[in-house]
């Protein structure tokens, strides 16, 4: 059985991350970015995150990272979820770093990981080719070309795709295997169409026309690395969703204890108490699954893909529930932009959709369970 309680170091890091996000990347910053000049993230805040070691949390010390591990990174992701921190942390520190660590050659690790850990190189992971994540092999192709490859095809749902300096692309090799390839921003034949999402975050549709690329690690061993990479991504998205759900719940709880109708607080009504209590229980149970998935990544437990799918499915369902209940229990003000609860709802959905929503993962869970 996985480790389900944080050790002292992880607890300290969790508290530090909570404090950091509350002070340096609060919801107000997301509002400012949304209403501002079109920046996708706040550069000084990102630099401060790099100072704290966040982008390098998964990267070993020998490559300039902090080597905290997945449980620890999950705490940072949860802290970011609580304040809707709009930063490159997920696409760069989780997806980009893990891609290079899983599939990269020693030379690529030595070249790329220190820059990622320092926050200097932003990454994006381009996998999906339709609006929904399907788990199917890529139709995008990689053809040998000179020393490297030429990528042709299109990718959608690429988080940070319009701001990344380095894009990790999944593509089919001539022999039909799946490979991971590195494309640099500004490469020839790369067209970037920015798409701002409901959560005010930058994603992109990327179109490749014989775009020059180099293989990440050994060509042809990408499928296994990609599967593992997506499990890592989903475990950390689940951790972020726990943060989103947890804070949406706490804000809602505070609101119903303050809001008075019929001469009493609406928190005194049983109809509201039971809904809040149920939601609290659901969040706690989702948290247990996410902790198990994160510590499973650190400790290497059997059946990890099944556990990750359970965690992502439950975290997504709970984040939906928490934000839906949150808006409803806020009443009319829940529909206003002035209150934060709507922003939590708008983050919960894209974070759940990315790399498979609740239904995708429930389905995958069933298949992996043998039925």
């Amino acid at each position: 059985m996985a480790t389900l309680v944080l050790d002292d170091e992880q607890k300290m890091l969790r508290e530090a991350a909570m404090r950091f996000m509350a002070e340096k990347a609060p919801v107000a910053q997301l509002r400012a970015l949304r209403d501002g000049e079109g920046d996708a993230f706040d550069a000084p805040t990102w630099a401060a995150m790099a100072e704290m070691g966040f982008p390098g949390a998964l990267i070993p010390e020998e490559h300039g990272g902090a080597g905290f591990g997945h449980v620890a990174m999950g705490q940072i992701m949860e802290a970011g979820g609580r304040t809707l921190a709009a930063s490159p942390l997920f696409a760069t520190g989780v997806a980009g770093a893990s891609a290079v660590m899983l599939a990269g050659s020693d030379a690529q690790k030595a070249e790329l990981l220190p820059k990622i850990a320092a926050g200097e190189l932003l990454c994006a992971l381009a996998v999906d080719e339709s609006v929904r994540h399907t788990g199917k092999a890529p139709a995008t192709t990689a053809a040998p070309s000179g020393d490297g490859f030429a990528i042709t095809g299109a990718k959608s749902n690429v988080a940070d795709g319009s701001i990344a300096g380095l894009i990790v692309v999944s593509a089919a090799t001539p022999d039909g295997a799946t490979g991971l390839f590195l494309v640099e921003a500004g490469a020839s034949g790369l067209e970037v169409e920015p798409v701002e999402m409901a959560d005010s975050r930058a994603t992109a549709i990327l179109r490749f026309e014989a775009t020059p690329a180099r293989a990440l690690g050994e060509v042809g061993q990408g499928a296994e690395a990609l599967a593992r990479l997506l499990d890592i991504c989903n475990a950390h998205l689940a951790a972020e969703l726990i943060g989103v759900a947890g804070k949406a719940f706490e804000d809602t709880l505070a609101y119903v204890q303050e809001r008075r109708q019929f001469g009493v607080t609406i928190a005194s009504f049983q109809a509201i108490q039971h809904r809040a209590a149920h939601l609290f229980g659901e969040i706690e149970q989702a948290r247990s699954l996410v902790l198990a998935a994160l510590s499973g990544l650190d400790e290497g437990v059997e059946g990890l893909p099944r556990l990750v799918s359970a965690a992502k499915a439950k975290a997504a369902a709970v984040a939906d529930l928490a934000t839906n209940e949150g808006v409803q229990l806020h009443g009319g003000v829940g529909m206003t932009d002035a209150f934060d609860i709507g922003l939590f709802m708008k983050r919960a959905r894209p974070a759940a959709q990315l790399f498979g929503d609740e239904r995708f993962h429930a389905n995958r869970f069933a298949s992996l369970s043998g039925y």
């Binding site: 059985m1 709880l253 119903v256 005194s268 609290f280 149970q285 039925y371």
Partner: protein, 393 residues
């Protein structure tokens, strides 16, 4: 840490040596559960032997003090024992309201005399206990109970009626909530007292349930004499003790949902009855989705149960989780049986006859409906979470 690994090795070896093979099979029916008591019905010699060996080690109550028949284990050691028992699918040697409910209250508040009189017999499974709580007019509003105990010098004279007393007709002793005062708040006139079910004036009548079984009784007390030495803790403080026991009861009931070996593989278990498509998926996509969601929730629940135990190791912080676990565990068990009956189709609803195990599933399904009523309804648990954990008022 090293000591704990030594303990694990010793425990593993001892269990290998002493747990009979038939006690490593899944529990299939009520008869596979050992309740002990004066009139204990052992299904076979293995069941008796397993109880005796475990009781000898003190492992029927692993964390209780050794002087009272317990195992004297630390919470960490007890967890190792649980894990090692789970590893070989060892059955619980004894199911006991004495261990799970009244025992902890006696340890916490009982006199030395009460501890010596009752605890060793509980550990050895010699006395089977029942819980006298609910009354016809006091269900969710338990503190409204009216069973009267009159002070007669050296004893109390008890008159009144309990209901939903689980297994009262098979129990040897009862731990009973009685009213010793009508003054002040209703919670402040309640006393927790113990007496023998063979005392003149005690009558237990089984109630026939929708499942056909009779596990609950109406229990009547007519001029029952209970010795004053059998009061647990202080007179009129019984409500505090009752709530403490309920916390333990909730944990036990919520463990229903945590019995991994029995329930986890609902999807795979349904393949026979439902059939599979070419890709090996359950041949009813909607049922498959319902089962997948249930299994995910079940896994989350089981991990939460484990997390609660890990977090509680330091102290006794069970209160925070117990209502949540009781609510979630019992609702999951009800969902499990709904899905199982649905997967088995008409077979799941058979009641008598050779086919489909003579209606065992249908009866289990109906029995499960009581899970979210007994030990405090789901609605009561949600109220406790809202008020005590979330501070809503």
């Amino acid at each position: 840490m090293f000591d704990l690994e030594d303990f694990r090795a010793e425990t593993r070896a001892w269990l290998e040596e002493n747990c009979p093979a038939s006690m490593r099979e899944p529990v299939r029916s009520e008869k596979d559960i050992c309740w002990g008591g004066r009139n204990a019905e052992f299904k076979n010699d293995d069941q008796r032997l397993w109880l005796e060996r475990m009781a000898e080690k003190g492992w029927t109550a692993p964390t209780w003090p050794e002087q009272y028949g317990g195992g004297g284990l630390s919470p960490e050691q007890a967890k190792v024992l649980r894990e090692e028992m789970a590893r070989i699918n060892a059955r619980e040697p004894l199911k006991s309201f004495g261990i799970s409910m009244v025992g902890p209250a006696i340890i916490k508040w009982g006199s030395e005399e009460l501890k010596q009189q009752h605890l060793p017999k509980i550990c050895r499974g010699e006395i089977r206990w029942c819980q006298g709580y609910s009354e016809p007019g006091a269900g969710s509003d338990l503190a409204a109970l009216q069973t009267k105990a009159e002070d007669k010098g050296d004893h109390y004279l008890i008159n009144g009626q309990k209901i939903w007393t689980s297994y009262a007709h098979k129990a040897d002793w009862i731990f009973c909530l009685v009213r010793t005062s009508w003054e002040g708040k209703k919670q402040e006139g309640i006393t927790l007292i113990l007496f023998d079910m063979e005392t003149p004036g005690v009558e237990a009548r089984p109630i026939r349930l929708i499942s056909g079984a009779s596990v609950f009784c109406e229990t009547f007390f007519t001029d029952v004499k209970a010795d004053k030495t059998q009061v647990v803790g202080e007179v009129n403080k019984g409500w505090t003790y009752a709530k403490y026991i309920l916390t333990h009861e909730r944990e036990m009931v919520s463990a229903i949902g945590g019995d991994a070996s029995a329930v986890d593989a609902l999807g795979v278990q349904s393949l026979d009855a439902v059939g599979a498509d070419e890709q090996g998926r359950l041949d009813d996509p909607v049922l498959r989705a319902d089962i997948a969601r249930w299994e995910i929730d079940q896994l989350g629940f089981r991990l939460t149960l484990e997390r609660a135990k890990d977090e509680a190791k330091a102290g006794e912080g069970v209160g925070h989780y117990s209502a949540l676990l009781k609510y979630a565990g019992t609702e999951l068990n009800k969902r499990r049986l709904e899905l199982k009956v649905a997967a088995e189709g008409m077979g799941g609803l058979a009641w008598e006859g050779q086919a489909w195990k003579g209606g065992a599933l249908a009866k289990e399904w109906l029995r499960s409906k009581a899970n979210s009523i007994e030990g405090g309804t789901s609605e009561v648990q949600l109220g406790i979470i809202a008020k005590n954990v979330l501070g809503m008022k």
